[in-house]
Amino acid sequence: MHQKQRKGFFVLSLLSLPILLIMTVMLTGAENAYGGNANGEEIYKINCAVCHGVKGDSKGEVCYNTNVEKSGKEITTYSRDFTLGVFKFRTTATGCLPDENDLKRIISTGIPKSFMPSFNDISPEEKMALIEYVESFSERWEEEDPCDVITTYMPNWVGKSYSVEKGKKIYQDMKCWECHGDKGDGAGPKADKLKDDWGHKMVPFDFTSGALKRGTAPEDIYITFTTGLDGTGMPSYEDTLGEDDRWHLVSYTLKLMGR
């Protein structure tokens, strides 16, 4: 009898252990700096304001960083000014506001090459609250209707040698080299005088250096050609180049990147 009681106590304590563990995890999970409530403003002030500024005007304590590439090229990156409502990395047509998923993706993955970190430990609800708060910085979000998201399907011939050849010709014809240079090293004749909408010096992408800010998948490059990078000198080629031609150009730029 006595022994049975002891056994029961043992089983009980074994059972309660995982429950206790789960409870602690839940408790500590809730006990983060935002108090568990998805308050966009609070999350913004803690995580984002240091660079993007309390008013979203990119006048935070840290508004730019200088990066020195292996070749010695210095590139200064500025944090995005949300008050203009202009965003580079969209999946919507040029001139449009970005889709909510675009912003969500940037918050989750960060922007390689710039110093936007990935904020993966913010929960999905908190991300939505944060996006809502970021949208409050510009009136565009209230005034304009959302645009359609552009979907991409990569043809299987991307990267084939004939496609690379065609892409090379388009690179010449569309004068990509004026900024990006003949070899794709970002040293075109116009490269030195470029300024973006925010008044900062712009550095055309050096394909030989590797990582793109948006991402290095062929689809990412295609979407850049299609949507352009609003606010910078990189235009949208949605109207000037056919879909196939844009994919040929993707083939050629992949070649330039040595992939």
Partner: protein
């Protein structure tokens, strides 16, 4: 039967032998130098001004010429082909007959100096390929390209004379060597950093010293060094060398590199009159040891080669919170886990007084008065609260473990210098006031709104990184 077999074997082998002997004789008769000498002789006879000169020319003996300089232990046969090297009439002739360029030969007669003491190459060889030692012959010191030849002048002459007497390339190279901060990573004569290889005697290292795999063109030390300056990672893919050259700078530095040699010239050859010691003031020392990474030190940059931030060290906000003692401590200890190595005398060979001069130079950009003290010791710190704050506010840049780098902007906090050498007061001031002009924001009252108590907690937490868990 048998005898016939052996007889024919004997016949054939003697024929082969005769053929080889014949080939040897033919080669001797038509050797490169003989052709050149005959041509030279004909040239002299043809261009003779009078009969006496013609007679002299006709008497010119054709034969291998060797010049032996006992005190240098050099026997050079270069004049077998370069036969007109001392003949002033040959000023306009083509190679190999041409007169030595410049007025060099007046002060450096061939019989006293020879050739290979400056030009390198294989002096005893009797054909061009082996003598020049280029391409894939197995000679360690091939003939030096003319653009680097001034490196040889520095074997005997002082820099003042080189500057005045037309060897300014090596002088410029030496100046660049000091001003590009090469010794921040490379030791020379026992003084310098630890990241790169020591450069003592680099100019006389044999070919096998260099990994030639990625060298374009001839696999010579000259090409290795030059191409390495142009693009370090093209030659050594893992190189962390942080050097960016403009125009001809790589040629100038290559020239200087080959003047750093192991062998010493006999004293009677050395011509050192005005030895100028390079300046050793704070600014010069800063350039010599710090500038390669920190540049002017005014801005902090994220460096892709080091994969971490190189902090600004001469910007006034840093100097405001860091007093000279703190800066000296950082310099002396280095920062473990980063490319900043220790500059203690035992580690770097740099004298303490030189470190003082560098610190003084860095601190000379200080414009602000010292900030209000933080009085860290007066706070009761709570490490748990510090940890929460750190994870929320600091870890995006400095990393959860405080290591920084790897595309994180913050500097490494998990090293012995931050943990043991730096005063918590200094860390607290840095967090409170930030570093204007760098990505480190001010977290104090007016900035990002941490209270002094919060800051003290964070400092207390940061100081636990060094402890084993």
């Amino acid at each position: 039967m048998h005898s016939r077999f052996y007889l024919s074997l004997l016949l054939i082998s003697s024929l082969v032998l005769m053929m080889f002997i014949g080939m040897g004789v033919y080669r001797e008769m038509t050797s490169e130098w003989k052709t050149y000498q005959t041509e030279y002789k004909n040239m002299l006879v043809r261009n003779a001004e009078d009969d006496a000169a013609r007679k002299r020319a006709e008497k010119l003996e054709i034969g291998l010429r060797q010049n032996y300089v006992a005190s240098l232990n050099k026997s050079d046969r270069c004049m077998s082909c370069h036969i007109g090297v001392e003949n002033p009439y040959m000023a306009k002739a083509d190679q190999p007959f041409t007169l030595h360029s410049g007025d060099y030969i007046e002060n450096h007669p061939v019989d006293k100096f020879g050739c290979t003491i400056c030009h390198y190459g294989q002096g005893r060889a009797t054909n061009k390929k082996e003598a020049h030692g280029k391409g894939h012959t197995h000679w360690d010191y091939p003939i030096i390209p003319t653009k680097y030849i001034q490196s040889a002048c520095a074997k005997c002459h002082d820099y003042k004379m080189l500057q005045e007497e037309g060897a300014e390339l090596v002088v410029k190279g030496e100046k660049l060597f000091r001003e590009k901060g090469c010794r921040g990573c490379h030791k020379l004569n026992g003084v310098g950093g630890d990241l790169g290889k020591a450069l003592d005697g680099i100019g006389s290292k044999p070919r096998a010293y260099y990994a030639m795999k990625h060298v374009v063109g001839e696999h010579t030390a000259y090409n290795w060094i030059k191409q390495h300056f142009d693009d370090p990672r093209a030659i050594v893919p893992t190189s962390e060398m942080r050097v960016f050259m403009e125009e001809d700078e790589s040629d100038l530095l290559t020239t200087y590199i080959f003047s750093i040699r192991e062998e010493e010239m006999p004293s009677k050859y050395r011509f050192l009159k005005n030895i100028v010691t390079p300046p050793r003031d704070g600014e010069s020392l800063y350039k010599m040891f710090c500038v390669a990474c920190h540049g002017s030190g005014k801005i902090s940059v994220y460096d892709e080669i080091f994969d971490r931030t190189i902090p600004a060290i001469t910007n006034p906000p840093f100097l405001r919170s860091a007093d000279n003692k703190t800066i000296k401590n950082i310099v002396m200890e280095g920062r473990g886990g980063t490319q900043m190595t220790s500059w203690k005398t035992t580690a770097s060979g740099l004298k303490e007084e030189d470190v003082d001069k560098i610190v003084e130079y860095v601190a000379s950009s200080r414009t602000y008065e010292r900030p209000e003290p933080f009085n860290y010791l007066e706070f009761q710190t709570n490490i748990d609260s510090g940890m929460r704050l750190y994870n929320n506010r600091c870890s995006y840049c400095h990393g959860k473990e405080g290591k920084g780098g790897n595309r994180q902007l913050g500097i490494n906090l998990k090293n012995s210098t931050v943990q043991q050498v730096l005063d918590p007061e200094f860390l607290a001031l840095t967090i409170r006031d930030g570093r204007e002009g760098t990505p480190m924001p001010s977290f104090g009252g007016d900035g990002l709104g941490l209270s002094d108590q919060n800051i003290a907690d964070v400092v207390a937490y940061v100081k636990t990184f060094g402890k084993k868990k």
